[in-house]
């Protein structure tokens, strides 16, 4: 551990620092602003939700964090710190709305894919994949093919896959968007449990306001037309979150505030 001259500062150094992050695409000669003005920090181990309507740039922001898209000049995107280094192309795990499992691979081999791509030792990877399947409650299913699983189970496999190479940052783009409402709520509770056990930094994109408040320690609100960041709201709800919380007054107040920011109240 490098000793810093100012220990307080090291303590406060965020894992991810975004300043004036913007992204414009050029389509058929016309410029199109996909994201502007995103400035916020994410601490290591934090669970942050990005919420907003379609076209607000939340998926663009996620792709910038994944290193799949460059941000515009003038933007600052820094991930990691000397105390907590981040290796692009190595330390990122992703889960999308669709499970995107390889149909011809059994569950265990699907989970192992990222580690295979990174060339990690296979024996350890298999162990880890088994542990993760256990964590997502699918230890019985490792020999099954994806088509033998329900949509919710497939998405659990995708979440295990996003963790198998032990990434520091996990990005989730509407991971439960294709599930029915009840399965989705169950998966939310499940995901919080996985997050607590794994200690990962998670950035999750959703357009479900309730989902964002329930999951996030912070909710970053993005608005569309023009696409920009509207607010960064710390969610001070009890750390042990259960579904009853969704009926509480505090939960309702946060939700109302976000609806208001999105011009929907």
């Amino acid at each position: 551990m490098p000793v810093s001259a100012d220990p307080m500062n090291t303590e406060a150094a965020p894992f991810i620092r975004l300043r004036n992050v913007a992204k414009t695409f050029t389509r058929d000669g016309a410029e199109f602003q996909a994201l502007s003005d995103a400035s916020f920090d994410i601490r290591a181990g934090e669970f942050v939700c990005l919420v907003g309507p379609s076209g607000c740039g939340k998926s663009t922001l996620l792709r910038i964090l994944a290193g799949l898209l460059p941000a515009n000049a003038g933007s600052t995107v820094s991930i990691g710190s000397p105390a907590d280094p981040f290796r692009p192309g190595r330390d990122v795990g992703i889960a999308f709305q669709q499970p995107l499992l390889l149909k011809w691979r059994r569950v265990l081999e699907n989970v192992m894919l990222p580690a295979e791509i990174l060339g990690l030792p296979m024996r350890e990877t298999r162990e880890r994949a088994r542990d993760l399947l256990n964590l997502v409650g699918l230890s019985q299913a490792e020999r099954k093919y994806p088509y033998e699983l329900s949509g919710g189970m497939q998405q659990r496999v995708a979440i295990a896959r996003s963790l198998v190479h032990d990434p520091k940052l996990v990005l989730m783009d509407e991971p439960f968007g294709a599930l029915d409402a009840l399965t989705r709520e169950r998966m939310n509770v499940e995901l919080l449990r996985i997050w607590e056990k794994s200690g990962k930094t998670i950035v999750l994109v959703t357009h479900g306001i309730g989902e964002a408040v329930f999951l996030g320690q912070r909710v970053v609100v993005l608005t569309a037309g023009p696409a920009r960041m509207a607010a960064d709201i710390p969610i001070e709800l009890p750390p042990q979150r259960t579904l009853e919380l969704k009926t509480s007054e505090a939960f309702g107040a946060y939700s109302r505030r976000i609806y208001g920011l999105l011009g929907m109240s």
């Binding site: 799949l68 669709q98 390889l102 149909k103 011809w104």
Partner: protein, 253 residues
């Protein structure tokens, strides 16, 4: 599972026997003359006629079909791979191949005979020419059928092109390849027979032309049955290989 497969096979066999029975009834009840439509029994009886060299002719046709089909599969897959890897190859060769495919292969037959004289090799070429394109097209489609988000998922891990190809694109294209092979197997049969009709000195298509002159309709029917049998065996081999290689859910049917 096993039991269900047997059941399905049993029903398939029954359906074929019923078709034979219907054929028999049409001939006997309708009193159809034998030179128009011989009975199933009369048709199978021609197998005893040694002058027709059934074994030899069937073997020749089978070699033509299988040969043309095998070459079409190998080249179809190779071209699909080349087109996936090289944008230049795709833009340069694909339009040519599409034009080539528009040529009716029957029209190509007499030319191939001029170039290569008639015989087994010529008919293999015609069978290949007709079976090649669908195999190429479906394999090409399969290689491109990868979800863009899956490519992002591995792209964020800096996956190499080779990794994407071997771990995602190639296995993902197999169901398409088999679908193309099934279409190709049917076409290869037609190609070989067309070749034999245009010019040949052996094979079931050649035999059909010989016995047609003698109005031996039973032998013609028998030839058709044997040609179909070769096609069925080829199709069965492709399906069996598919069952072995492709996970059930991924099969295109």
């Amino acid at each position: 599972m096993q039991r269900k497969t047997l059941q399905v096979a049993g029903i398939a066999l029954l359906a074929h026997l019923l078709a034979l029975l219907a054929w028999h009834l049409v001939v006997t009840v309708g009193k159809v003359p034998a030179f128009i439509l011989p009975s199933p029994a009369a048709t199978f009886a021609t197998l005893g006629n040694a002058r027709y060299d059934w074994w030899g002719n069937t073997a020749v046709t089978a070699v033509e079909i299988m040969g043309g089909f095998a070459i079409a599969t190998v080249l179809g897959v190779l071209f699909a791979l080349a087109f996936t890897w090289s944008r230049l190859a795709l833009t340069l060769l694909m339009p040519l191949l599409i034009t080539f495919n528009m040529i009716p292969k029957v029209a190509l037959g007499p030319l191939v005979i001029v170039w290569m004289s008639y015989g087994v090799v010529t008919n293999i070429v015609i069978a290949f020419a007709i079976a090649f394109f669908p195999i190429l097209l479906t394999t090409l489609r399969g290689l491109r059928e990868t979800e863009p988000e899956l490519l992002e998922l591995v792209g964020a891990l800096h996956a190499t092109r080779w990794q994407v190809f071997t771990k995602i694109q190639l296995p993902g294209s197999l169901p398409y390849l088999f679908s193309g092979m099934k279409v190709g197997s049917v076409l290869a049969v037609a190609g070989a027979i067309v070749g034999e009709f245009i010019g040949s000195e052996a094979g079931l298509g050649y035999l059909m032309l010989q016995v047609q002159v003698r109005l031996d309709t039973a032998a013609m029917m028998m030839s058709v049955l044997l040609i179909s049998l070769i096609g069925i065996i080829l199709y069965g081999l492709v399906s069996a290989l598919e069952a072995l290689v492709v996970v059930r859910d991924a099969r295109l049917g």
